[in-house]
Symmetry: C2
Subunit: 185 residues, 2 copies
Amino acid sequence: MKASKPDVAAVREQVEQDFVGLWRRMSSLWGISPTMAEIHGLLYITGAALSMDDIMARLGISRGNVSMNLSKLAEWGLIRRVHKRGDRRDYYESLSDVWEMFTLVASQRKRREIDPILNTLRECKDHLSPETLGASAAADQVQEQRRRVQDLLSLLSLMDSLSQRFFVSHRGLRAALELLAQKDE
Amino acid sequence: MKASKPDVAAVREQVEQDFVGLWRRMSSLWGISPTMAEIHGLLYITGAALSMDDIMARLGISRGNVSMNLSKLAEWGLIRRVHKRGDRRDYYESLSDVWEMFTLVASQRKRREIDPILNTLRECKDHLSPETLGASAAADQVQEQRRRVQDLLSLLSLMDSLSQRFFVSHRGLRAALELLAQKDE
DNA sequence: CGATGGTTTTAGATCGAATTGAAAGGAATG
DNA sequence: CATTCCTTTCAATTCGATCTAAAACCATCG
């Protein structure tokens, strides 16, 4: 091994650090908190099962914080608890399949954020319907407002039904993207 | 008009209020601030060109706040400035096409959030390449780490290239979704 | 020009979300 | 069954982002 080549351990360290930072920046995109993202990023990029103390030391955050965020990550299904024989501590490791992780996050966000919105939108639509408003529903402004609600509802419903189709398993996402990519040919 | 039917103005008022609230809740999904979302929601659902004073009164927020958020919305391309003859004030109105709005938001977020991430990821990949690390790049742990970075890079690159294809115009999104929906048949 | 009507900037106040630290809770061990 | 080692919970705090109000700015009109 030549001296001119950088030290492997140092490089991994650096990459891990960059990656954690990157994951933190992505947190808003995934709809999770920055620290939650950091922890997950660390577990993903190291590929190892780490204990709470490992994580605390590595990221410089408190025990309570780590504990709560690990619970949430487990809830989302992004990490798993692992037991090591002869060690009372819990260890945690990330899923390793990016497609699966992505699908998981997407379907969680759909359930938590899109579904309630769809319900509210349907209510809005009902309030503007001729059944509710009677003859005055024909007024131009009402019609326009109804159209706008309806347009949005159509778009979200379409995405909703597609996501149901493609997010049932992590294979679905792959299938969908490949289908779209084919169009390039 | 029967007395049993609700008052049209009141219903519109109510719908507009619900809609603004809904839009506010959606803000995190779109990656914009809650107030920015509220303002845009109000402009979209009323379908009218409103002045800053209208918006302040309707949403109960300060002038400076409205001003800053209107600028941002205009930057994103979600709203347009409109002039009325014989009135010195500026009026603002929302785009009315949900597909176009959606496309706009998606491509902005891609540019602001995904592109920098792709760059960092490529750097990570380079740091782990055999060219940088020499023989030690063959170590199991390094290989695994490289695979994880590469997997992520593949997923994001694929989405990136698809989005370039489908987000060039708002027609693209429609086309993509219809393509996917066809698979149902 | 100065006054008027309108918009943007900015320094400080406010608010909610994230974080900490310490105490309570639980399980394995001798 | 008491001790030890971990984990979880939670009230208090911190911090960042957002918002306000007031001052600075700008353009048009008389």
